[in-house]
Symmetry: C2
Subunit: 542 residues, 2 copies
Amino acid sequence: MKIALAQLNYIIADFKGNSEKIILKIEEAKSQGADLIVFSELAISGYPPDDLLDYPHFIESCSNALSDVAKSAVGISAIVGCPLENPEQVGRRLYNAACLLEDGIVKDVVYKTLLPTYDVFNESRYFEVNDQFRTISIQGVKTAITICEDLWHEMDRFDYQDNPIAELCKESPSLSINISASPFNRDKIDERLKVLQRQSKYSKTPLIYVNQVGAHTDLIFDGNSRVLDSDGDTILKLSEFKEELAYIDLEDSQSFIKKEEQEEDDLNILHRALVFGLKDYFNKMGFKKAILGSSGGIDSAVVQALAVEALGKENVLAVMLPSQFSSEGSVIDAVELSKNLGNPYEIIPIETAYKSFESGLSNLFDGLSFNVAEENIQARSRAVYLMAISNKLGYILLNTSNKSEMSVGYSTLYGDMCGSISVIGDVLKTDVYNLARQINKEQELIPVSIIEKAPSAELRPNQKDSDSLPEYDILDGILKLYIEHQKGPSSIIASGYEKATVERVIKLVNGAEYKRFQSPPILRVSPKAFGRGRIMPLVSRW
Amino acid sequence: MKIALAQLNYIIADFKGNSEKIILKIEEAKSQGADLIVFSELAISGYPPDDLLDYPHFIESCSNALSDVAKSAVGISAIVGCPLENPEQVGRRLYNAACLLEDGIVKDVVYKTLLPTYDVFNESRYFEVNDQFRTISIQGVKTAITICEDLWHEMDRFDYQDNPIAELCKESPSLSINISASPFNRDKIDERLKVLQRQSKYSKTPLIYVNQVGAHTDLIFDGNSRVLDSDGDTILKLSEFKEELAYIDLEDSQSFIKKEEQEEDDLNILHRALVFGLKDYFNKMGFKKAILGSSGGIDSAVVQALAVEALGKENVLAVMLPSQFSSEGSVIDAVELSKNLGNPYEIIPIETAYKSFESGLSNLFDGLSFNVAEENIQARSRAVYLMAISNKLGYILLNTSNKSEMSVGYSTLYGDMCGSISVIGDVLKTDVYNLARQINKEQELIPVSIIEKAPSAELRPNQKDSDSLPEYDILDGILKLYIEHQKGPSSIIASGYEKATVERVIKLVNGAEYKRFQSPPILRVSPKAFGRGRIMPLVSRW
């Protein structure tokens, strides 16, 4: 049995585009003599379709597209993910289904059992749980088909009641297939491999794993589809972050040569994930050109370098917006950065705009001293400039906030928090430095002076981040425990952090929910990013 | 059996405050000779606690607070809602529980079966489903206890598999109790009454229904707790939008006098809901003073009137920020409004700030004509002024966008979309007019000229909303079908709207997801508000 793994990039609700792409690959696989081609979870609609699933005409479009695709499955079997209506009158209206297409029709369907409903996942919101387990015969091969989370029975968050693999293995299948839409984070590739290894060993069958690739705003799907043999060893691995069609022949012993698992460099994969996420966001939105405020600091420098890599140097406009508090070095560094990267840049001093606000407010603010209000006027004047250029010339504003400052609210709402997408909003400051060094690995793109100077928002004379915040290695350590690992203060203090610092940081994080509520979508690269995967009350005594 | 219904306003994670409040009411009820006092769903933690439930030390705090509260339940029984750990190793870590407190301890617990996971509800994200059904004896009375959604088995969205009421009624209880945290919307009060009537008739018992009261940012809980007799008639009704402790004696036939159901005026209840929502948001945040941009248009006028009612006239600062495109009438109308309402106001022309941006951009924009970029500079300059005053003087910015403009993106991100909370972002423009008339019912607070003039953003000469948008009655009709009723274009066209208009409106709505993503939280008063209850992909071909 020759099987094609189709790791593709879908667009949500693009029924025409998705179907055409699928049909093309079915034809290509057929021409290569494949018996079966496997596509990923909800390939027809794209994943995640979110509340579009509440629209009956969306489901109708899915069903029409599925019929169209089925027509091309003649002389070959295909497995395609698609939302399907629940035929029963009880329970949720939909199933998350894997459809077996043969002889031009939908021959059989398998429903998803384990519906992830945590972090960025909302599947119980839409889908009914499957509780019927049976293998399916594909070209005479008894096959256990599962969908994404179905493999993740013993994940550490909690244990699901049903174990689809255990149920299916009672029928002793010869082949296992899992179709997925499993989003990237920096821990995910390893974690996922362990799950796949455990399942192929348990079922004692080869395991075909097909994941989607592509970014959907905040969520980045890395692909990394694979075939494992029944010992849990990888015998075929598809690429990260790109579309690919690959084949495995289960009758050919040459197929069963074990591949060495390559240890991926974490920073390298983080770097590639961010570039891919940004690029695919622009592609799918139909955007070409980006703009950002280039302060001469490390955050905007890293975002600028990533943007140049993702979009091309000619498509990234860096704008330096110095105020009277900006050091001369900042503009010099920012100019050098743009020269190194080769992107166009503009310098627009904001002092005049700032002064006009100051004078408009002089009566109201009479006798009151300079404070955060004046600092924010600067950040917001910059945003007005950047958005005006964006509106006039069609550049899309990139947000350059990092996760550490997003966590503690060290940022100005409607100022530096503006942007269409946040590129490094899920990267802690210490990792922003690591990324900068990674970017400079072969060549000094980011001037060393940017990396080495003490971080500062430059909104008042001689300001340093360390005036208001703990040192970043301390801050980031606490943030990781509190945000990613849900540890409480006593447990964080027990890990060796100072009580007063821990309590202060937690208070800052909780107090900044209202700012994050209005932040742009953030490319998700950690197991717990701000955004859809972390729903917090805005008003609480937490 | 004398039962106290405790309809209270909790603060999320305020374990000390919530416990003290509960204990005080237990003591009060005991002193009034009550046998049982009933509190609402998740009273200990406040509802909805969202992802705080993921924090083990949050659950520990819930459990400690519950023990404290239990100690006061001596000589009286109490039912209190609280998240509890799932004692089993399988399934979700928590249950949504109703705890029976007696003799100073937690005597018994009942878990919630139907976990709402749609619209603003996320309960499957946290809680395990109950599948054990038994009545509980309280002071010798066989009682069927359910939690909120448990009553809503046959709601029209979908049918749940289990029906807790049917299961419990197999044991022929003499009394039914439901503890709830059921948020308000304009359809909800009627809908909820029907559910209560159906259930008390089905169970042939009196039904004690205790709902929480209070606003939690976007969600407004109206209270409206009740007692129904076994015929489904209301024999006791608590207030909307305020805390109350009320008693019913089940042995006293005088208690069983049916109350006339009063037909509530929809606009009156909408008006009260918005005032209450705003007021409680400020109370819980510890805010006193509000600021808003007062344009002389209907939206800001209605928000200003509501804010004055909620916060007091001395606490609302109206700022007129005319540009060179503002009509003289607008400032005159806005001043008259502030004079009618008696709140302080300021006039700050934005032309100087606008011109400073224009000159800073003159090289880049050379030869390009006035367009949306310059319009947005005005809206964003206003936001800079308003936020500066907010930062300096501690006023909280109110967003004044209505639902119609939020729907079609007729608003400026980081401009008029700014604010800590959106007061009328879930009210369609046609209802904003109705609200204005409701506000003016006894006295002309909002100048008639504001109500009667053609709506305009006044961002370019002679601009009218109707230049860019269909008339509001048409627009709102389409929006209601598309957003609240999830109708597709063909179905909306079949209701009598013009094809081109329907297609244009839907395109505008879908194209504005990215703006709404960054909008402030919106007081929810419709069955489908923008915000947490409507999760849409930002990048799609929808």
